[in-house]
């Protein structure tokens, strides 16, 4: 079953990448054109999200009625429900970085297909940021 799970993850990734490429979300200029409401506004990103959410909303309803996923023992779903400072502060930091260059994690990783040094610099810094966040969380958990 583990080989099937790995195959499913790979296939799911390929489809995700195709979606990012077809919708041009791998192009930071396209993303920045959406975020630039006061400039030459390009609303495409809204439709990318709408298309993705519409499909996922319908599919998730059916999927989550099943007792378990087809290839695994249980669903790994987020358990937190509280809207707190960590959630909003983290989202704000992410929004700041996203707005600076127009790259978020999916398109930044997908951009590796272009072999651009820019993607590598961004991703190296993003990886360092993720490790810093993990260390901060570890320190926070230690105090509690």
């Amino acid at each position: 079953m583990i080989a099937a799970r790995h195959g499913a993850a790979l296939a799911s990734g390929v489809i995700f990448g195709l979606g990012l490429a077809i919708s041009e979300m791998v192009n930071p200029a396209k993303v920045l054109a959406f975020l630039d409401v006061a400039g030459d506004w390009d609303p495409s990103l809204i439709l990318v999200m709408a298309g993705a959410v519409a499909v996922a909303l319908a599919a998730f309803r059916l999927i989550l009625k099943q007792p378990r996923p087809a290839l695994a023992d249980s669903f790994a779903l987020p358990t937190k429900t509280r809207i707190d400072g960590r959630l909003l502060g983290g989202a704000a930091l992410f929004g700041l970085g996203w707005g600076l260059v127009g790259l978020c994690p999916g398109p930044a990783i997908g951009g590796l297909a272009y072999l651009m040094p820019e993607s590598l610099y961004f991703l190296a810094a993003m990886a360092v940021g993720m490790v810093i966040a993990a260390l901060l969380k570890g320190a926070g958990d230690g105090r509690r």
Binding site: S12, G19, M49, A91, G97, Y114, A125
Partner: protein, 142 residues
């Protein structure tokens, strides 16, 4: 608004939705890219393999579209190195503290009608929009 591409946006978006549905329906996992990538640094060996495979697939999907001659615009030159490094750090820290990015909160979370994800999505879109406004229209860079 001459750059608006509604059809390719909807088709690409729908494919991302299909990908999220497959990952949840088959493996029981949420297709949040920052969570999948972040788990490479924080999870043990066996839990890393599927994450790496998903991300390799994602890069492969973009490459496939390129090889197939898909009408993808060449990626515009990105800003200078300090901007890229600063933005990368902020995105890495912010998505891990906030528990998600555009895919995890913005697509999967909204599809689950999660109040946390709705609050996070509104927050990062508004902050990103404000950042672009300041950078492009007040500062005049990068």
């Amino acid at each position: 608004m001459e750059n608006f591409t509604p059809l390719s946006a909807l088709i690409g978006g729908a494919l991302i939705g299909v990908s999220a549905a497959l990952l949840l329906g088959l493996n029981g996992r949420i297709a949040g890219i920052s969570g999948i990538a972040g788990g490479l640094f924080s999870s043990a060996g066996p839990a890393r393999a599927w994450r790496a495979l998903f991300l390799v697939g994602l890069i492969g999907g973009v490459a496939l579209y390129r090889l197939a001659g898909g009408p993808l615009q060449e990626i515009a030159p990105t800003p200078s190195l300090p901007y890229l490094i600063g933005a990368g750090l902020l995105v890495g820290i912010g998505t891990r503290i906030g528990g998600g990015c555009t895919s995890g909160h913005g697509i999967c979370g909204l599809a689950r009608l999660s109040p946390r994800s709705i609050a996070a999505t509104v927050t990062f879109i508004v902050v990103a929009g404000a950042t672009v406004f300041v950078v492009r229209h007040l500062v005049g860079g990068p």
